[in-house]
């Protein structure tokens, strides 16, 4: 049996699944001040009377890191940058406590300015005196050559006793220095708290005699063993929407294009599954105002939901964006879409008379019937959701591309399905689907799709291999791995083979070796380097990923 527990904003949902069916589900209200407690009480409710030995796998999501960042409760970190030539680091808006070091690496990974070791030492002393215990060291093009980051990190660690140092190249091998800096800082700022959480989970499971492997859900819909995830706590942000999307992938496997709509009390989360593959945000997640390298599904949160306040502005009805409380029909303070649904007979939630009165009050002011008001409210909600869905498709179509074929061949996709998940306002899904010319789908188990998604999501993993045959080197930044690449005329196929081999090793190290075969090349490029009129070498880049997917044990896909 597989366990999935998804900690959401208001409730924590848990399921026990076996053979493609939900054996049992449970939920508890989420207590953000005691995430561990609510995870465990959901777990206990779920496993009551179930032998711990029957549990084969446990997957959890957590809002711990998301909340820490949102509430500004992350640990103080000194961000030490080695920016070299280019932008003024101030233009990156990386916040307080930024320290700058001399030294530079260029786009090919060549040292163009030496690290100034005595400056590193004096900076380290200064950081120690200020009292920093956590330091992120990030160099521009550090992913192409990490000698400066390593050396600077080493000096800092030797000068400041007990300091925790995080190096940029270990966090991401992709281009984008400010994102790498922000992600590295967040990583070291949340690591301790996250490790504590992971230890508590491990202890609690041990107490309950659950010895099944434990995984944590990430923003890209993948899982990682809990004890490996302690090195990358930031990847656990936004796992809620990821859980829902994985739930849809598990409950209705298809190669079609679908919009996933999760209508909640105050917000509606929208996501796209394009030709069967969930759309990732193109460069990485935005966390509050910080842009990161964290791989995450492209989720759009629209400020509208069942509890959005309905107001009248002249002759117009406005819905949201704020919430004043529950619906009137649920004893709340002001009219909401939930009341409108009740009046139209589209739901049977709450007190009919109170809902009727909510609409009647507005109807009087607009000289129409309560039913007409209710219809207008629902139209406004549906319009807003539909326009955001269209915007998402437009943004996807407008994503820049850098090759002729990508621009010429990019197809136009239309939604074929609108899939409703989550508990609230399911009656709206068919209306949204109708306006998009798509089929409305409410999958079986829709209210706990998120927990199912967690239970059956498989691990994901990324590896970036870069080879510069003119310099005779290869590098896998995330692994801190470099080596010789002597074949000047290496081709893409050989590079991809090499990446696959390295991916196998990386997956084994991560404890997910059995999924290494699922790895795909998601990006690769090769450039001949011509100097004068002759070819002097090649630059090859291969990105390999185990993409989001469903484990075979689910037994449905």
């Amino acid at each position: 049996m597989l366990i999935g527990i998804d900690v959401g904003g208001t409730t924590t949902d848990a399921v026990l699944v076996e053979g493609g069916r939900v054996f049992r589900s449970a939920y508890v209200p989420t207590d953000h001040d005691n995430l561990l407690g609510c995870l465990l009480s959901a777990l206990d409710k779920l496993t009551e009377g179930v032998s711990p030995y029957k549990i084969e796998r446990v997957v959890l999501s957590t809002t711990l890191i998301t909340n820490m960042i949102a509430e500004g409760k992350t640990d103080p970190v000194a961000l030490v940058l080695i920016p070299g030539p280019g932008a003024n680091p101030k233009d990156y808006h990386l916040g307080q406590d930024v320290f700058i070091l001399d030294g530079a690496i260029d786009y090919r990974g060549r040292e163009i300015q030496k690290l100034n070791e005595s400056q590193v030492k004096s900076t380290a002393l200064e950081l120690g005196n200020i009292g920093f215990k956590k330091i992120a060291v990030v160099g521009k093009f550090g992913q192409r050559n990490h000698v400066h980051e390593l050396k600077a990190g080493e000096i800092v660690a030797s000068v400041v006793p007990g300091v925790q140092v995080e190096l940029g190249h270990r966090v991401s091998g992709q281009l984008n220095f400010p994102r790498r800096a922000a992600t590295t800082r967040l990583t070291v700022a949340t690591k301790d708290r996250y490790r504590e959480f992971a230890d508590q989970i491990n202890a609690a499971l041990k107490n309950r005699k659950i010895s099944a492997p434990v995984f944590i859900l990430k923003a890209d819909g993948g899982t990682l063993p809990l004890d490996k995830s302690v090195n990358m706590p930031v990847e656990t942000i936004f796992s809620g929407p990821a859980a829902s999307i994985m739930g849809v992938m598990a409950l209705m496997p298809t190669t079609q294009t679908s919009v996933v709509v999760d209508i909640g009390g105050t917000t509606t989360d929208l996501a796209l599954i394009l030709s069967g593959k969930p759309l990732l945000s193109s460069k990485g997640a935005r966390v509050n105002s910080l842009l990161t390298h964290v791989r995450a599904f492209a989720v759009k949160s629209v400020a509208i939901g069942g509890d959005s306040a309905v107001s009248v502005n002249g002759d117009c009805i406005a819905v949201g964006p704020h919430r004043e409380g529950p619906a009137l029909c649920m004893g709340g303070p002001c009219p909401t879409p939930t009341d409108a649904l009740r009046v139209l007979g589209m739901s049977d939630i709450g007190d009919a008379a109170a809902a009727e009165k909510a609409m009647a009050d507005i109807a009087k002011r607009l000289c129409c019937t309560p039913k007409e008001v209710a219809q207008k409210v629902i139209d406004a909600v549906v319009d807003k959701i539909v326009s955001h869905v269209n915007e998402m498709f437009r943004e996807w179509e407008q994503e820049p591309a850098y090759r002729v074929w990508e621009i010429v061949k990019k197809e136009k996709l239309l939604a074929q399905n609108v899939v409703g998940v989550g508990g609230a306002a399911q009656p709206l899904v068919p209306l949204v689907a109708q306006m998009l010319g798509a089929k409305a789908v409410i999958p079986e188990y829709a209210p706990v799709a998120n927990a199912i998604g967690a239970a059956v999501a498989r691990p994901t993993l990324t590896l970036n291999l870069r080879i510069d045959t003119e310099r005779g080197e290869y590098i896998v930044a995330e692994e801190g791995l470099t080596g010789r690449a002597d074949r000047k005329n290496m081709n893409l196929e050989q590079a991809e083979q090499m990446a696959r081999k390295l991916m196998n090793e990386r997956a084994n190290k991560m404890g997910i070796g059995e999924y290494a075969n699922e790895a795909e090349v998601t990006y690769s490029e090769i450039f001949n380097m011509v100097r004068g009129w002759s070819t002097v070498g090649r630059l090859l880049d291969v990105r390999m990923e185990i993409p989001a997917g469903i484990i075979p044990a689910w037994g449905r896909c």
Binding site: P83, P85, G86, A87, N88, K90, D91, Y92, A104, D106, Y107, R108, I112, Q113, K140, F141, L175, N176, F177, P178, R179, K283, L291, Q398, E399, P400, A401, Y402, R403, V404, W405, I407, V408, E525, F527, N528, M529, V530, W533, S534, T535, L539
Partner: protein, 457 residues
């Protein structure tokens, strides 16, 4: 500029980066896949696209009509352009729209292939260019948005002879090109005495500079000539044909301009839109120059951009070079100050028609073209123009074409005569193709004499 549009709502700099990573003239040609690779690495690593000051756009494809507004492509547009050309040209149009809609304050089309050596008639590739992205943007701005006066400043090290050819007779387009002296560099033209057709004298301004000109020399030209001239001309738009081969490391030229010099130039010039032209120091210059230009346009601090081997004061301008540049500017100032009188005198001297013969060499495709160009010097409009063109490749005749162009403000009589020229030459077996470019009606016609097939855009 005094006439600068300030109606934009965002203050953003629009950027289209289209490196055409899957397109090359040939595998080892300077215009190959690798050209903007290190520029990609630098600007992506800098995270420039994420900055709130910058908005990245995706290019669209230009249409044959967009291209026909400028060029007579022989035999047709499809034969002269690849999809890469359509995307590069489409990029400038995408930014033109964004600019007009007020979505951006200014913009940079960091795209290849380049265009400024492409002339009005196109038989093939010359100077790495097939179609002129800048000119296509200018004509689009005028047709779609009704702009009248436009200034183009060509900051590539090579003379922008294609752009010059296209706007030679047009008094409403000011074309200024500074470049390494044509006696020492391709394409061998661009001297001060090339100053436009009889009705547009002084609206083409060529500033040849001695090899080895430094930041100081180029900024002298900018401060003392280009900026004041732009102030006089009061264009609706200032556009920069932003080549990067004045850089001190460029392998195809001999100037000593730095990345900081380029950034400062764009800050002072404050162009509405920039279009990349040449620049082939793909590692030592382009990553830094492009970063600097983007920052300058976006109002960001570019003082941290520096080539690894650059130190301020690396190049010092000699007294001789200084005198040389000042003398050139003195000569050009005289042309500019007297431009209206020059036009008057020229119109008095020529009769109803002005004719010139040209020989054009297409270095990339090894084509020789002979042209006879005729413009009516009309007092009611800019006059229609015809070009009889014959292209040779090796010893054989490649193609011959008769091209008729009608200006936007064509008078009835020019319209009728141009139409007549078009119809008449359709029966003339001397020409394989006959074209009518009607900018007034924004319709474009091509006719193949052998098959009697006409195509209209």
């Amino acid at each position: 500029m005094a006439a600068k549009d300030t109606s934009n709502k965002t203050g953003k700099t629009g950027l289209i980066f289209f490196p055409a990573f899957d397109w090359a003239i040939s595998p080892t040609h300077p215009e190959r896949e690798e050209r903007l690779l290190y520029t990609r690495d630098q600007i992506f690593e800098e995270g420039l696209m994420d900055l709130p000051e910058i908005e990245e756009y995706k290019p669209r494809l230009a249409t044959p009509k967009d291209i026909s507004r400028v060029h007579f492509c022989v035999p047709n547009v499809e034969a002269q352009v690849t999809e890469a050309h359509l995307i590069a040209a489409g990029s400038v149009l995408t930014l033109a729209d964004a600019k007009e809609e007020g979505a951006i304050r200014n913009g940079f089309a960091l795209v290849r292939p380049p265009g400024h050596h492409s002339m009005m008639v196109v038989h093939g590739n010359r100077g790495f260019c097939n179609i002129n992205n800048m000119a296509i943007m200018v004509e689009y701005f005028r047709t779609r948005y009704g702009h009248k006066k436009i200034a183009i400043v060509d900051t590539d090290v090579h003379h922008g002879d294609g752009t010059q050819d296209i706007f030679w007779h047009d008094p409403d387009v000011l074309f200024i090109s500074f470049h390494q002296d044509g006696r020492t560099l391709y394409p061998g033209s661009g001297f001060p005495n090339e100053m436009g057709g009889p009705q547009a004298l002084g609206r083409t301004l060529n500033i040849p500079l001695p090899p080895g000109t430094t930041d100081e020399g180029i900024h002298y030209v900018l401060d003392n000539f280009i900026l004041p001239v732009l102030k006089d001309f009061k264009p609706d738009l200032v556009l920069n044909s932003a080549g990067q081969d004045n850089h001190y490391t460029d392998p195809l030229a001999n100037m000593r301009f730095s990345a900081n010099g380029y950034a400062r130039l764009n800050e002072k010039l404050a162009p509405d839109l920039c279009v990349l032209e040449g620049g082939y120091a793909i590692e030592t210059a382009l990553p830094y120059v492009n970063t600097g230009i983007i920052q300058a346009m976006a109002g960001l601090d570019y003082s941290h951009v520096r080539e690894p081997d650059y130190v301020p004061g690396k190049f010092v301008q000699s007294a001789e070079m200084k005198r040389d540049i000042e003398a050139t500017i003195g000569q050009l100032q005289e042309i500019w100050d007297n431009r209206d009188r020059l036009v008057e005198d020229a119109l008095a001297e020529h009769g109803q028609f002005y004719r010139r013969r040209k020989r054009i060499f297409y270095d990339t495709d090894m084509i020789n073209e002979g042209q006879e160009e005729t413009v009516r010097l009309c007092d009611r409009c800019h006059g229609y123009m015809t070009i009889a063109s014959q292209a040779q490749k090796g010893y054989g005749i490649l193609n011959s074409a008769f091209c008729v162009s009608l200006p936007r403000n064509a008078c009835t009589s020019c319209r009728e005569d141009a139409r007549e020229e078009f119809e008449e030459h359709k029966e003339d077996s001397k020409f394989n193709y006959v074209y009518l470019q009607d900018k007034q009606k924004d319709t474009y016609h091509s006719y193949e004499t052998r098959t009697r097939n006409q195509r209209d855009y």
